[in-house]
Assembly symmetry: C2
Homo-oligomer: 319 residues x 2
């Protein structure tokens, strides 16, 4: 019988776990709340305890596993298996995650950045259809991503895949990174709301979005997309602006890397085909002619499972 994989998706609110076949099929799935108290010092022990508990529950032993893979926020040292600067976990100092987990469980362990791991998940079992060249963009609170070329994640010297910090507007909004005009300042959930407020300032019509904003109602990226789908004039202006930035960023990614797919995921991608079609309009306009033939924009397919599936795939190297 083939050995199994364990995937862990470590986030600021929950830690998701899954046991998978070496084919990437999820067999068991569970999660626990992330306890970030005391500088996040409970997190690794909690992971160990939860794994030990579930292995016992399923009557499984370490020798039945090829390895454990984990996606983590923060800066990951792939070789040493350490994490530092994961502020939503309160991990300010270096965490020797691999060392502790391998010692306690006796199963080989690998860790990578959470966006990279989600990219691997979508590439392996999702919209990427296991092609060797796939780019993943996640549109959430921020904009992140991961790049797979020649079947391998691109890490660069330290942290490749900063898709959210591609410049799309030379004198654009100030970003949390200190630069101006990063994609994230327009295409993240908060960026979309920011664009809505800005365009509303100069909009004189009677669109519902305008009224909601003027009334001080709580407007989210979802509100904007929902209204745009109903034909709301201002919401459409916002969506068009955001999608043109996204489409041009996708075209430049395509022109550089010529992947078979650029997969768009994250909360904002819930806007679905409506979003994709608008992004694709601008993509078609700026993609190099051959890239228009080879690179397709796609919606992510795995939702919340992308993390555990991609994380598990990190452990395939221990086979």
């Amino acid at each position: 019988m083939n050995k199994k994989l364990i995937g862990i998706d470590l986030g600021g609110t929950t830690i998701k776990f899954a046991i998978l076949t070496d084919n990437g099929e999820i067999q068991q799935k569970w999660s626990v709340a992330t306890n970030i108290l005391d500088d996040g010092s409970h997190i690794v022990p909690d992971i160990v305890a939860s794994l030990q508990h579930h292995l016992k529950l399923y009557q499984m032993t370490p020798d039945q596993f090829t390895g454990i893979g984990m996606g983590s926020p923060g800066t990951v040292d792939l070789k040493k298996g350490t994490v530092i600067g994961a502020y939503n976990l309160n991990w300010k100092t270096l965490q020797p995650v691999k060392e502790v987990i391998e010692d306690k469980l006796g199963i080989p362990f690998a860790v990578d950045n959470d966006a990279n791991v989600a990219a691997l998940g979508e590439q392996w079992k999702g919209a990427g259809e296991n092609d060797a060249n796939v780019v993943f963009i996640t549109l959430g609170t921020g904009v992140g991503g991961g790049i797979i070329s020649n079947g391998q994640l691109i890490h660069g010297v330290q942290a490749a895949g900063e898709i959210g910090h591609m410049n799309v507007e030379p004198a654009g909004y100030l970003c949390t990174c200190g630069n101006h005009g990063c994609l994230e300042t327009y295409a993240s959930a908060t960026g979309i709301v920011r664009v809505a407020h800005d365009l509303a300032e100069e909009y004189a019509g009677s669109a519902q979005l305008k009224q909601q904003l003027d009334n001080g109602e709580d407007v989210s990226a979802k509100t904007v997309f929902d209204l745009a789908k109903t034909g709301d004039q201002l919401a459409l202006m916002v969506v068009d602006r955001v999608c043109s930035y996204l489409g041009r960023a996708c075209a430049n990614i395509g022109n550089l890397l010529d992947p078979s797919a650029i997969v768009i995921g994250g909360g904002v991608s819930a806007a679905g085909e409506f979003l994709l079609k608008k992004v694709d309009q601008t993509f078609q306009q700026y993609a190099f002619p051959t890239v228009r033939q080879t690179t397709k924009l796609k919606l992510a397919q795995l939702g919340n499972d992308a993390g555990v599936i991609g994380a598990a795939s990190l452990a395939l190297k221990f086979k």
Copy 2:
């Protein structure tokens, strides 16, 4: 004794050859004119004859070589070793280059795109310092490039590395590819002259570049850079505009791929540190903070030898 490599740089006017150690040191170097008559049907026979002649001259035999690598214009099929659509060679139909050369010489043969091969050269023995993550941009008649990540060329589905066709201006100049605002329309040798003409239209001062353009003198990219170095006001405006596009494109490449170096070569790069410093100003402005630490802009070091050296490196896989 270690076996040798042969590198071939096939261009529209000359075919350059070199015999190298497996360390990338050139031991012999020669070139022949490219005969593109009769649909380019003389090119491969000429390559074979030139190699046979020089092997005889140097009293060397096929078993003393690991392999032959070649950089070619056009669309290359890496696996089959064929080339099609190399219009400056008159190669409109499929050319079975690998098959013929291996048959005639009895040495394993590999071929890749000329820009990719130049990138490999600079990465291996030039400014890239043999790092696993290096991007090469060539500024010539057009703007091309090659991307090396994880120690491998990125090909994508078909033709990655279309750096010249990254969009830098949404409503910019029309490009030969049919799109608007490609980097190449501003930062190629012809693009720079185009920017000069455009800015001269709106310039009312007495800059020498303005006078030369108004007099209908022959102005080249070199003229523009030479005048800019002397402080010519209009020339400086042109250089600043071009370098800001280049810098922003480099920043986006850095943000995506985080290479250790972005190496700038090609004819326009003869402007040297003056060019590099101006590109770097904008790069620093738009690169993600960690990328500013990890990715350095550098001038190419190998000049015309980049092609034969990089081509030879393709043959290392036959070792």
